[in-house]
């Protein structure tokens, strides 16, 4: 059970494939046009239920309860060894010991 007032994210399909714009590439045309937005849950609910939320601008949005207290987990990515090689290339070129 997710309590009323919890910070959540909802999901909704805005346009089904049939309703989508014309002139789309095939791979885009065959999938729906979707929306995600966050806000405070209006009533107690379970994940996957259709719910209303109030967004930070005060709008009401309706959709499927998709995530509870969503947070950001993006980072600096896996180690990329090429960056150290770029360092070597530019430092040796600058010092003139590349030739």
């Amino acid at each position: 059970m997710v309590r009323k007032g919890t910070w959540v994210r909802i999901h909704r399909i805005l346009l089904t494939p049939a309703e989508r714009a014309e002139n789309l590439p095939e791979e885009t045309r065959k999938v729906p046009f979707e929306l995600w937005v966050k806000g405070f849950l209006s009533v107690d609910a379970e994940l996957g239920e259709t719910v209303d939320i109030q967004t930070v601008t005060g709008r009401t949005e309706r959709g499927t309860l998709d995530a509870v207290e969503p947070s950001y987990r993006h980072d600096f990515g896996a180690y990329v060894p090429e960056l150290k090689e770029i360092d070597r290339i530019v430092l040796s070129t600058l010092r003139g010991d590349d030739r």
């Binding site: 791979e27 806000g39 930070v56 601008t57 090429e82 770029i86 003139g96």
Partner: protein
């Protein structure tokens, strides 16, 4: 009565929604059959350079440092012919509140919204502009909604866009995230209509006028630092507002000609509306996927008449590859101790190649940087690309295939630019403007000359080739 909110109905109300949401009646500026009075539209913002500076100063924007990059210059001279290798300077725009030059555009848009009595602002952007609008809206006490194209149909988000969403939310904005597709415009219009908020479009006269201070400052900074005007200014180009505003500011401040070079990342072959290609590109802006269509048809933007008209101002349009920009981003970090985001370094990559061909006493100015961090950092971008199956290797960047490979230059002198044919771009613009016309008026002819920044004879030749009648 509730309005019909279907796709077709909302798009059908587009002009009415736009007029209300930007407070500009664009029909006032229409002239002849295809033209419009661009300068009058810009003048009607009512804000001159001094006023814009004052507004920006009060809101954490502008007066960013112009920094010389002595080690980058030395690097270029190592691989240049004797006597070649211009001094390289960079306008460190990451110092604006919210971390990019976009704060200049947002500051004037939000100021205008407040002045007109709007209670909130909406912007459709997956880039730095969202954070800029959110940051400025916070200062003005305006509500803010940012509409982002964010996820593919597997729910995978571009890390840079995810970071932008985080920044927007940090500044108190509501972020509406969408899957891939041009129908974003439908959601954007629906939100404008239901909220009655101001359309903080990147393409209004306010947004573009806000960048004029950047051009003016870099001229003044360069004179103070070197005693001379910049010989060349390189501008990252996407929708064209950065270039247009910067060039206008330079024209208003410099007493003689400064070469303006537009630079975009080459994303040839990737479709901007493709659910599959979406996460196979490492740049969400500053690329040819926006740069080319907006240069040949500026009015494809989210307002009836765009204030961003880059072809009027560009002396040259060059492309660089993704691998070159990542390389230069790392070089800036390790050689100059300045860690900035890759998207803002598109112009730096081009500048390195251009500086190599210029004499040592010349000055080249790179007119922006952007903040970096989780998601935006070049390591995050490269790691994400690799995880999507994009090959990353050293070699000749000319062999890069956007979406399939990122080729980092294996030598410094591999960093190069490809010049696009501006005359071809001019012809495309003329063709786009004349789609439905076989005859144009005198004012239209003058409009096309201004739009293409070409001699009248060039426009005459193009018109007769197209079988269009005109009065000169």
């Amino acid at each position: 009565m509730k309005k019909d909110d279907s796709y077709a109905a909302v798009l059908g109300r587009r002009n009415e929604i736009m007029k209300k949401s930007v407070g500009i009646d664009y029909s006032r500026y229409e002239t002849g059959m295809i033209g419009f009075d661009y300068e009058r539209m810009m003048a009607d913002t009512g804000y001159d350079l001094a006023r814009i500076r004052a507004i920006q100063k009060q809101h954490g924007v502008g007066a960013t440092p112009l920094k010389e990059l002595p080690n980058m210059t030395a690097l270029v001279r190592r691989v240049a012919a004797p006597g070649k290798g211009a001094r390289i300077f960079i306008k460190d725009e990451a110092w604006n509140d919210s971390g990019s030059f976009k704060a200049r555009r947002a500051s004037i848009a939000c100021h205008r919204a407040k002045e007109l009595g709007f209670t909130g602002v909406i912007a459709a952007t997956s880039g730095n502009y969202g954070a800029a609008v959110a940051s400025q809206a916070a200062k003005y006490g305006l509500k803010c909604i940012v509409v982002q194209e964010c996820y593919d149909s597997d729910g995978v988000g571009q890390p840079e866009i995810i970071e932008k969403a985080r920044a927007c939310e940090a500044y108190g904005a509501e972020v509406v995230q969408l899957s891939v597709g041009p129908e974003l415009f439908y959601t954007f219009l629906s939100l404008l209509e239901t909220t009655g908020y101001f359309n903080a479009s990147l393409y209004t006269p306010f947004g573009v006028a806000g960048v004029e201070t950047l051009g003016a400052e870099l001229v003044e900074d360069c004179l103070a630092a070197t005693g001379r005007l910049p010989d060349c200014v390189v501008v990252t180009n996407a929708g064209g507002g950065n270039l247009t505003g910067t060039a206008r500011g330079i024209l208003k401040t410099a007493k003689s000609h400064v070469d303006i070079v537009a630079a975009s990342v080459n994303l040839k072959g990737l479709h901007m509306a493709s659910d599959r290609d979406f996460n196979r590109k490492s740049f969400t802006t500053g690329h040819t996927g926006f740069g080319m269509p907006f240069m040949t048809n500026p009015d494809r933007s989210d307002v009836p008449r765009s204030a961003a008209r880059p072809l009027r101002y560009a002396d040259r349009y060059v492309t660089v590859n993704q691998g070159e920009v990542f390389f230069v981003t790392e070089a800036l970090t390790i050689l100059e101790g300045i860690e900035r985001g890759p998207a803002g370094n598109v112009s730096l990559a081009a500048a390195l190649a251009i500086a190599r061909t210029m004499d040592q006493d010349r000055v080249i100015v790179v007119q922006e940087t952007e903040y970096t961090g989780a998601g935006k950092h070049h390591q995050a971008q490269l790691a994400f690309a690799r995880s999507r199956g994009v090959e990353i290797r050293f070699g000749n960047p000319d062999e890069e295939v956007p979406g399939r490979s990122i080729i980092l230059p294996d030598r410094v002198n591999r960093i190069d630019v490809v010049d696009l044919d501006l005359d071809k771009i001019r012809l495309s613009l003329i063709k786009n403007q004349l789609k439905d016309h076989k005859r144009i008026e005198r004012s239209d002819f003058a409009y096309l000359v201004a739009e293409t920044n070409a001699p009248a004879a060039f426009v005459c030749r193009a018109l007769s080739d197209l079988g269009v009648a005109w009065e000169e």
